[in-house]
């Protein structure tokens, strides 16, 4: 790489400025959470951990509009949605990468649809649809929405993993007498694992933090945590919310780190799902 010093300095400094911009709100929340002043000031005036004490007691109590219940709702909904999205996303990704079949192009488009579908339209539309069908499922509708929103993340990551491994491995196993199911379990599944892990984690993060669609679909019976945070912010902002925010963002960061460490890196969610079926794929 032939690069002048000026160029390196220009690129590196613009990167630093951009990272400051990207991390600004997170850093602000963290700074406010240890600020002794109860009003939002930056830089902090004096340090304290009092807000964390308040945050923990809020999260563990049933008061404050049901923080604990909301947290439980979000965990249940996010875990179920991530599991469902992986269950239906994995076979779809396998089909997209490995097989030729009528409707493959339609599937490709469908899989990208949740990424661009306006969240407001989805929320209101699903609300209308379910009320017309007279379905009243406080948890079910949240899980349905979050599963749909999480499917692209699973499919993209799994197909990125599958596209990278050669089909001949699977074929060699068949030739050597392995059944399809055995070859799938012993060859495809282990090799697709990084993509599956990334997909699961990202699906969980998406479902756990989802706000706009939940804003239209939540009910007193099932109020997700992001709605709870929103209502607390609107009602009366209190500084212990910044401590809760730091805990939530820390939890998110931990999950993203997990994606990097155990998965494919997560960046591949944005890579094309339009991978061609492998060269050797036969339409027999």
């Amino acid at each position: 790489m032939i690069r002048s010093r000026t160029e390196r300095i220009a690129l590196a400094s613009s990167t630093v400025v951009l990272l400051i911009f990207v991390l600004a709100p997170t850093v602000m929340i963290m700074a406010a959470s240890v600020n002794r002043s109860a009003t939002l000031t930056f830089p902090p005036r004096g340090l304290t951990l009092d807000w964390y004490g308040a945050a923990v007691s809020t999260l563990l109590s049933g008061d404050f509009g049901g923080a604990q219940q909301s947290l439980t709702v979000s965990l249940v909904v996010a875990l179920t949605s991530a599991a469902l999205a992986s269950l239906v996303g994995f076979p779809a990704a396998y089909a997209l990468v490995r097989l030729r079949f009528p409707g493959r192009r339609v599937l490709e488009v469908l899989v990208s649809l949740p990424l661009v579908f306006p969240a407001v339209s989805f929320g209101i539309g699903l609300l209308i649809l379910l009320s017309r069908l007279a379905v009243d499922l406080p948890y079910g509708r949240l899980i349905l929405a979050d599963t749909i929103l999480a499917i692209p993340f699973v499919v993209r990551n799994v197909s990125a993993s599958l596209a990278g491994l050669s089909r001949s491995l699977e074929e060699a196993a068949w030739t050597l007498g392995a059944s399809r199911a055995y070859a799938f379990r012993k060859i495809v599944l282990p090799l697709a694992r990084p993509g599956l892990i990334s997909g699961l984690f990202l699906a969980f993060i998406v479902a756990f933090n989802e706000f706009t669609v939940a804003f239209f679909l939540y009910s007193p019976k099932a109020q997700p945590f992001s709605i709870w945070i929103f209502q607390r912010t609107e009602a009366a902002f209190d500084t212990s919310l910044t401590a809760i925010g730091t805990i939530v963002l820390g939890f998110n960061l931990l999950l993203l780190w997990g994606v990097q460490r155990f998965g494919t890196g997560g960046g591949s969610w944005s890579r094309t799902a339009a991978t061609k079926p492998h060269q050797n794929a036969r339409a027999n």
Partner: protein
């Protein structure tokens, strides 16, 4: 493997995703219903809501505001993401992973909490308090947060496109006497163009229908289309609400069509092909 196996494997996912189609269809149907004031709506086939959307001052102004914000956000997101992608292209794997986590954060971490963080930034005693004008609850503050939230789309798309460019191309251009700026303009930028396009389409889609950010950051003072969907719903004007929501969905579908085209071309095009132009 015989052909229908793929269809069978894809079926569960398709069933879930088909819900989106049903949602779009039912909203489109309701957008033709008649709103009869307090008594609610009446099943009909009228174009009154759609004609209101394109003639009523409130909606026209909102459309202009939304377009302005969306175009500005897309341009800024690409301008900011491009140098970052150029940097991470040659960075070590550890730096790349750090940048990747940092970029996933605004996209995926709790949005409400991040908006609270931005409120600290914009607050009268925040780090921007030295500015001679107020930022909080202005169009500018909404723009900043929209760029922050959608820039990762642009970054990951441009980064993916640049990943496919072999370094030897740059070196060859340099050997043939091209300066760095020429390499950037004639080699890297054209090859990153599909990424720039697909990234800005995703940014555009994410911004055009924005709802939470304009409401919370703009303090209900920045009435973009997404906000008006809910405003109409609050007045129990479901047909109007469904009309705006359908318009947003139709725009998203057009964008998806464009996205698919760009992505397919990106997947089909070996790096050397673009070089021969």
């Amino acid at each position: 493997m015989f052909a229908p196996a793929g269809m069978l494997l894809a079926l569960p996912a398709v069933l879930f995703l088909a819900v989106l189609i049903c949602v779009a269809a039912i909203m489109l149907r309701i957008s033709f219903d008649r709103y009869t004031g307090a008594s609610g709506e009446q099943s009909a086939w009228t174009l009154q809501n759609w004609s209101r959307l394109v003639t009523d001052q409130t909606y026209l102004r909102s459309l202009l505001l939304t377009l302005r914000l969306t175009v500005a956000t897309s341009v800024l997101a690409v301008l900011l993401a491009f140098p970052l992608a150029l940097f991470s292209r040659t960075a070590g794997s550890r730096t790349r992973a750090t940048i990747s986590i940092a970029m996933l954060l605004p996209l995926l971490a709790n949005l409400v909490m991040q908006i609270v963080g931005w409120m600290v930034v914009f607050s009268p005693r925040g780090p921007l308090s030295f500015l001679p004008f107020r930022v909080a609850f202005t169009e500018a503050s909404v723009l900043i947060v929209l760029v922050h939230h959608t820039m990762p789309f642009a970054y990951f798309a441009i980064d993916a496109a640049l990943q496919n460019v072999p370094r030897s191309l740059e070196e060859a251009a340099a050997t043939l006497g091209a300066g760095r700026l020429v390499v950037l303009r004639r080699v890297l930028f054209p090859l990153a163009l599909p990424g720039v396009l697909s990234g800005s389409i995703l940014v555009f889609a994410g911004t055009f229908s924005a709802f939470v950010i304009p409401i919370l950051v703009g303090g209900y003072r920045i009435p973009v289309l997404g906000v008006l969907v809910q405003a109409a719903m609050d007045e129990s004007n479901w047909p109007m609400s469904a009309t705006i929501a359908s318009a947003l969905t139709l725009i998203a579908l057009v964008l998806l069509g464009g996205y698919q085209k760009v992505v397919l071309r990106l997947a089909a095009q070996p790096p050397s092909e673009a070089f021969g132009r």
